[in-house]
Amino acid sequence: MRIDAHAYMGHWPFRPLRGNTCEALVRRLDENEIDRALVGNINGVFYKNPQWANEELFADCESFLDRLVPFAVLNPTYADWEYDLEICRKGFGMAGVRLYPQYHDYRILGDGCTEAVKRIRDAGMVVSFSSRLVDRRQRSWMDSAEDIPMKNILHVVRQVPDARYLILHAFTPDFANDDVVEAVDGVDIQFDMMYGTATQQIGPVLYDLPTGIAALGPERFSFGTATPFREYPSHVIRMELLESALADPKALAAVWGGNASRLLART
């Protein structure tokens, strides 16, 4: 099974995204022979009350639930968010919650965020942070959100090690760093691999994917594309090159979708 662990529908306010509906996403999965995708609604980043976006997502993907796994977007500083969490879980069958402290006006290092992570954990859902949505170098003048450093995400992971995590736009210069290895030890956490390369030519914004996989284990990485922000073929090419770099075909299958499948199986 191949799963895209990082997909979106909805609108980005600063440029049009093509193919930004669930129906178009399924077409894109078909074109690339990907079985399923974990999808969230970008609109939830910008609505004051993100529950509107979760309702939109559910309505848009209801016909595609055999292919798409909806993830909620929630703002734990907004009124009655716990109720929305329950609706997303029990009413919409959503598998996880994407949190955007950099856009929703709270600190990832604050107690409120930690408490929110615990609530999501207790609801049996996956907690997802995204270090960014777009490259900061090309941000709009209206988009003042800062990237979340990996060390801050790992701080939360240390505070709540028994939650399940999916980290999107995951970037650290060195996944083999002792701090990263120590922080994720024993934690059910996965990283997308958008900034990894399997070519051994490590440019300034890349990390060596085989080294990261060797350090953390193949169970820590999932195929993810950020579609429709990003084009699709690059990510499939990366997986194809990774196939040559990984000696164990089971490791490759895990990254392609086995890991995401395992993460979701516990929801």
């Binding site: 099974m1 093509r18 022979e33 079985d35 900061r136 070519t199 499939v236």
Partner: protein
């Protein structure tokens, strides 16, 4: 039977959230993903903006090029500020070129603030077979008059001039906090140079490598002598299509800037006819090389 049909027929299309780990053992392996690599290898490619990371291991660079079917690459090492330092980097490129003359093309890196030494180094590098300049960095804007003697030398030699470009807010709207030195070339600086020297072969570095690519493209639209390389880590969907729409296919040069998977992927993702895709991957830059007799074929 297609993979998707196979999945449904085998009962593996599950509900919204319940997916067991048994799903991971499916043996079927893709036709389509393989066909993507087939597509990758279909096109001849020459990389207009590459770098040699390890000066002693050009073979490692060649391995990466081979993975995505890049036949030739223009490479530089834009490191260091003083003449001894940039000469040392160019020496490394010259050694690599001599080791792999059919694969590696040199781009000469200088700091123009050392004007006399820089011009002397450009003369040396072009004389030893480099194809042009690159990656000129952030010491001075490309429109700074300090570059003029170097540009005139390149015009005389029919050598290309490739420079680092950014479109950060701090360059476009200086009241924003600085994210790149103020001396970094913005697209309008390339336009200014091209107006002064319409016969120069100017390559605007990486539309995917630093900032608002829409702003870059629109700034360059009415400067028809400027080429744009497609490299950089940004792989936004639609970026290449937008560039084609506003600049035309002939002005785009495939490049990686050491981003091999995404460098190739973004060109494959673009909605292009096959001739246009071949032009970007190969023909356009090969035609530039032809001007100095350094093309393939």
């Amino acid at each position: 039977m297609k993979r998707r049909d196979f999945m449904v027929a085998s009962g593996s299309a599950l509900g919204a959230v319940a997916m067991g780990s048994c799903m991971t053992t499916r043996p079927s392996r893709p036709s389509k993903a393989k066909s993507i690599m087939d597509r990758v290898m279909t096109y001849r490619k020459v990389d207009a903006h590459g770098h040699l990371l390890d000066p002693d291991r050009p073979d490692e660079l060649l391995k990466a090029m081979d993975l995505v079917g890049i036949e030739r690459a223009a490479i530089s090492r834009p490191i260091g500020d003083n003449p001894d330092q940039f000469r040392e980097q160019n020496d490394a490129i010259l050694r690599a070129m001599k080791m792999h003359p059919d694969r590696l093309l040199g781009q000469c890196y200088v700091n123009p603030l050392h004007a006399a030494d820089a011009l002397e180094e450009v003369n040396r590098c072009l004389g030893e077979g480099m194809i042009g300049l690159g990656e000129l960095y952030t010491h001075a804007k490309i429109s700074n008059p300090i570059y003029f003697p170097i540009v005139e030398k390149c015009i005389e030699e029919r050598a290309s001039i490739m420079a680092h470009a950014r479109a950060d807010l701090s360059l476009l709207r200086p009241h924003h906090p600085e994210t790149t030195p103020a001396t970094t070339s913005a697209s309008k600086d390339f336009v200014e140079l091209a107006k002064r020297y319409p016969e120069a072969i100017i390559i605007h570095g990486h539309i995917g490598g630093g900032g608002d690519w829409e702003h870059m493209v629109k700034t360059l639209r009415d400067a028809p002598t400027i080429y744009v390389d497609t490299s950089g880590s940004c792989t936004d969907e639609g970026m290449i299509d937008f560039a084609v729409r506003h600049l035309g296919v002939d002005r785009l040069l495939f490049a990686t800037d050491i981003n091999f998977e995404t460098g190739v992927g973004k060109i494959l993702a673009a909605r292009l006819g096959e001739d246009d895709r071949r032009a970007i991957f190969w023909g356009n830059f090969n035609n530039i090389l032809r001007l100095r007799g350094q093309h393939a074929d």
